[in-house]
Symmetry: C2
Amino acid sequence: MTTYRCDHLFGASGWVSPGELVVEDGRSAVERVRGYALPGMPNLHSHAFQRAIAGLTEYAGPGGDDFWSWRDAMYRFALRVEPDELESLACQLYVEMLEAGYTAVCEFHYLHHAPDGSPYDNPVEMSERLVAAARRAGIRLTLLPALYASGGFDGAPLGAAQRRFRSDAAWVMRAVERLRRAHPEVRVGVAPHSLRAAPPAELAACVTALEGLDSAAPIHIHVAEQTREVDACLTARGARPVEWLLASAPVDERWCLVHATHVTSRELADVARAGAVIGFCPTTEANLGDGLGPAGRSGAAGVRFGVGSDSQISVSVREELRWLEYTARLERRARNVLAPAGAASTGAYLYSTALAGGLQALAQPGGRDLVVLDPEHPVLAERPLERVLDAHLFSNHGSAVRDVMVDGEWVVKDGRHREREAIRACHRRALARLAE
Amino acid sequence: MTTYRCDHLFGASGWVSPGELVVEDGRSAVERVRGYALPGMPNLHSHAFQRAIAGLTEYAGPGGDDFWSWRDAMYRFALRVEPDELESLACQLYVEMLEAGYTAVCEFHYLHHAPDGSPYDNPVEMSERLVAAARRAGIRLTLLPALYASGGFDGAPLGAAQRRFRSDAAWVMRAVERLRRAHPEVRVGVAPHSLRAAPPAELAACVTALEGLDSAAPIHIHVAEQTREVDACLTARGARPVEWLLASAPVDERWCLVHATHVTSRELADVARAGAVIGFCPTTEANLGDGLGPAGRSGAAGVRFGVGSDSQISVSVREELRWLEYTARLERRARNVLAPAGAASTGAYLYSTALAGGLQALAQPGGRDLVVLDPEHPVLAERPLERVLDAHLFSNHGSAVRDVMVDGEWVVKDGRHREREAIRACHRRALARLAE
């Protein structure tokens, strides 16, 4: 085991100075960690391949622009990505995540098949590439093969642009079994893509089969991201998406409801009671114009939450958490609205809540990763300990993330990933091929 | 003169490759600039001393928290800052601005007197410190001594916590004349603090006197930031703040209306007609919970705007512009809402609009500063030229700002200010003294 003796360590009961973290790694060592050490943040929602289009869709066509026109552009791009490119894109993305202080990522993975829609020789080829990228970058991975069976609430068949995503419960469960066998270090669960894409019978079959295999495996679903989706669900099923899901599926601590932007306060309270996590993706939800979400009501509802980088338009723990709070402030016309009244630090509240929610959503134990902040950085220098997380998250004068350790390995030192240059070069070659 | 021969230069008509910038600097040289060169962005609203409390007010007291409780905390801090500390804080701040791609800053300066409220031996001592900080950092400065005469719409006297700000039109004009004489390189104007703090007769006297001195000098005012201010103005004057201002003062191209968060569409159209600039401060307005502003309506109204870092909670051209657009997207539930329909790039629209608005607000000519983006950075590599500004502003995977030139001097190279370390050390000592 290695004992990391940290000058300051943030934990469930706040800062401990000094604080110790013990990692069972077959060694026998003591290491001093200078600065402010945080548990690594899990990123609970990622579509790795979308990193490649960050910054390419920031204009409106003649018909205007919204989530659905963005989705068309994203589909067109998704049809071009081959396994080698996916691996290179994901590896660069995971380096960026680590440098930003994410030490674990949950891939909500639906790009299953070859560009023409036929299966790869290895049916989980694309999943394997995500695993390889995570291993090289040194990030912890939860991998959720997506169930993507229909094109609408009416059970319509998938469109041509969705041919790479096609899967049913049986296909997903074969993928889960294969990935679990091949990669015991990866946490595997399932992702019914959405109520549009997961017909009730397929959803039930998938959830039941997963439970038989691993009763604690994670289940994530996109839900209530768009008002059009809410309207379609009301029409087709007589209930709002979250309302329908809670009534029709065994939603509990294994579940992560991604977005849940358009929810009533009653739905929010019911999610809290079920013990599920809401996966907020503030920068993506803003970029896609999803609408103002329920974060400002989350405290009163007692709902668990974490954050995800989703479309990868931004890879920043700090921006996600800060703007989760900020959008609620703008809507409420007040300050410090997410934390309970009298909380000593909004930053500490946001960090510890998103940490717990993220670990639950990834079904990963914590306590083996560290993100160390530079106490000399102008964001943190001369700040009292109880303000360090506020300054880290809110004071945007550069990032104070200095070193990052995952499972006993320092993968980031002095703000740079150990393979930054080589992985950047791979990524660039992949982008050049994709642009051909 | 020096001719900067840029691989790519962004100008009024978009990108030119290669593009040339000629700076009259008494030299005779040609310099090649590799990468993507942008005109430097002006920061149209800054209270430098507030840099010191970034991250220190992110918690709610037992009575909750809003703009007004934040203001109390800020006042308490303002009473502690001495001239030496102001200079050190401002210098660090200006380094951060330059590294973020701001090449000019407008100081809305009201911290005039000694902590006990008495004048300094040199009445513009604190202004002199801002000038010194700007000179050392190498940032272009517009300096606006503030008129701060009353504590409310009823003409109430200032509170004890506001004693350092006290000024009337005569004091402000003496400060303007003195600063103009001493520092011809600094653009000097005035800042009636707000309608609360600038009684009508003082406001009129100040504006008239300034006009006599310099008919193009800038005039900035905080207006309609808070609903409480709108209500008080309606009660006291029978009109909304922006409505009253437009009817009662000679608002034109010299004016910058800072915030203008709570405006009707009619007020917005009238501001556009007057040719004034609105000074949006998205990160501060979010941090302070001011409310959702009119950015989404700015295009239809044809209003000019720029951005400012205001409270310094964030010093990032990219975050200000991105979230100006994002908050409008969240409110509208659509994408790419600020740029006119069919605009080729939201990033280019935001950048060029905020550049023009910023230069107008600072009453500074453009064309002597450059911000150069690294074409190898993962945010930009393999991106087509027409997407470079979209990627720069929206794709948040680190900053691609590599080099910054102000008036023929390269003050930032490879992302680092030439005096970064020495200025950081001064800043840190100032913070330590302030914490005593």
